[in-house]
């Protein structure tokens, strides 16, 4: 077998070109499906955090993208995708809020890399209910049952994940407040 530099370069180039051409077709073929899933996931999340919304609009304010939910011409809530670091990797949360009444409607975890069985429980309704119909403000993560509105019940064995999500939600609420005035 000829091992001249020319032959080596040629071999790798040919394989590279064939792979690239093949993958271009695969990319063209799968991208519409992938985008459809992403849009569907986002739409589902918006409907979950602004349940009263009939339709929503994408609005950019202060460099952030907000989703405003409307019901019969009336704005009923604002949703925002907030990101932050979790216990492992980035957590992405859709936060729905009602800035007129200064309350959080609810949250939905879009993506995370937390430990299955522990931190991954941030996606359960049990944990998410900590942020349903709650006032804007600073939250405290506690390890027992909550008795006050500004408390978040930590997931057993996953206090860090619980705190990280709480931070992300607090930041998102600040962003929404800054853009929409917020509070009475």
């Amino acid at each position: 077998m000829d091992n001249s530099i020319g032959k080596l370069v040629l071999t790798l180039t040919v394989i590279g070109i064939i792979s690239a051409v093949g993958l271009t077709f695969v990319y063209e073929w799968t991208t519409p499906y992938i985008e459809k899933h992403a849009v569907k996931a986002r739409e589902g999340a918006i409907r979950e955090v602004i349940p009263e919304a009939e339709r929503y609009e994408e609005v950019t304010k202060n460099g952030n993208t907000f989703y405003e939910g409307y019901n019969s011409g009336q704005r009923v809530g604002v949703a925002l995708i907030a990101k932050g670091s979790g216990y492992q990797g980035i957590i992405e949360v859709m936060v729905g809020a009602d800035p007129e009444n200064g309350k959080i409607n609810g949250i939905k975890i879009l993506s995370h890399e937390e430990t299955p069985g522990l931190g991954a429980n941030i996606t359960t309704d049990d944990y998410k209910s900590n942020f349903v119909d709650k006032p804007f403000g600073e939250y405290e993560v506690i390890k027992r049952e909550t008795s006050e509105p500004y408390q978040v019940e930590a997931i057993a064995g996953a206090t860090i994940s619980s705190e990280k999500v709480t931070d992300i939600v607090e930041n998102a609420v600040d962003t929404i407040e800054a853009a929409y005035g917020g509070g009475m």
């Binding site: 077998m1 032959k7 993958l23 499906y33 992938i34 996931a41 064995g157």
Partner: protein, 198 residues
């Protein structure tokens, strides 16, 4: 034909990649926390292994020896990228739970190892038999391991709750430590069986 069956059976038991050769440990330890993840990872790896063994076995005479490893990696990476797109498009839930472990199949030493040890030296039909055997061998161990871990760690198998609320899940089984413990015990059991056999 006998040769083909022997090539196929080789990966299932005698040279099983996980329990005998102990290669491909990264996905083995990382994604076997639920049965569905273990199965999906096994099938995705098998697909990449089979396709790349076919291609490499076909073009092995055209690849100069000095660049064979980069050539193999290019071919493997192409199939892995294909798998990644395909899973994101058609099984998005599984794709998101396996996340970065799909692209990491590129560096699974099981795949490159089989190209070096088998596909680059043997004809296509034997390479297919070897790849299918190795792929299934890899998949069955992943599934066995993930069923044990999911059952003990969450009380369910394939997402179906089998153990009632009386069962206190052993959280450690779905954490990395549980992977080492259960894999060690599994390999131990397999070694006892092999030594009895002969």
């Amino acid at each position: 034909m006998k040769q083909l069956i022997a090539d196929f059976k080789n990966g299932l038991w005698q040279e099983n990649p996980i329990i005998k050769l102990v290669i491909g440990m990264c996905p083995t330890l990382a994604v076997t926390n639920t049965a569905i993840n273990g199965l999906a990872m096994g099938l995705a790896t098998s697909f990449v292994l089979i396709s790349s063994e076919i291609v490499i076995s076909l073009i092995k005479k055209l690849i100069p020896n000095n660049v064979r490893i980069p050539s193999y990696i290019l071919i493997i990476a192409s199939f892995v990228t294909f798998t990644d797109y395909f899973m994101k498009a058609f099984v998005p839930d599984i794709a998101s739970s396996l996340s970065l472990f799909i692209p990491l199949i590129v560096v699974n030493c099981l795949i490159l190892g089989r190209q070096e040890a088998f596909a680059s030296k043997n004809p296509v039909h034997r390479s297919i038999a070897d790849a299918v055997g190795m792929g299934l061998g890899f998949t069955w161990v992943l599934v066995a391991l993930s069923i044990v871990r999911e059952l003990l760690g969450m009380g369910s198998v394939f997402g179906i709750q089998l153990l009632g609320s009386w069962y206190q899940p052993m959280i450690i089984m779905i954490l990395p430590a549980g992977a080492f413990i259960s894999l060690g015990i599994l390999i131990g059991i397999m070694n006892v069986i092999s030594s009895r056999e002969g």
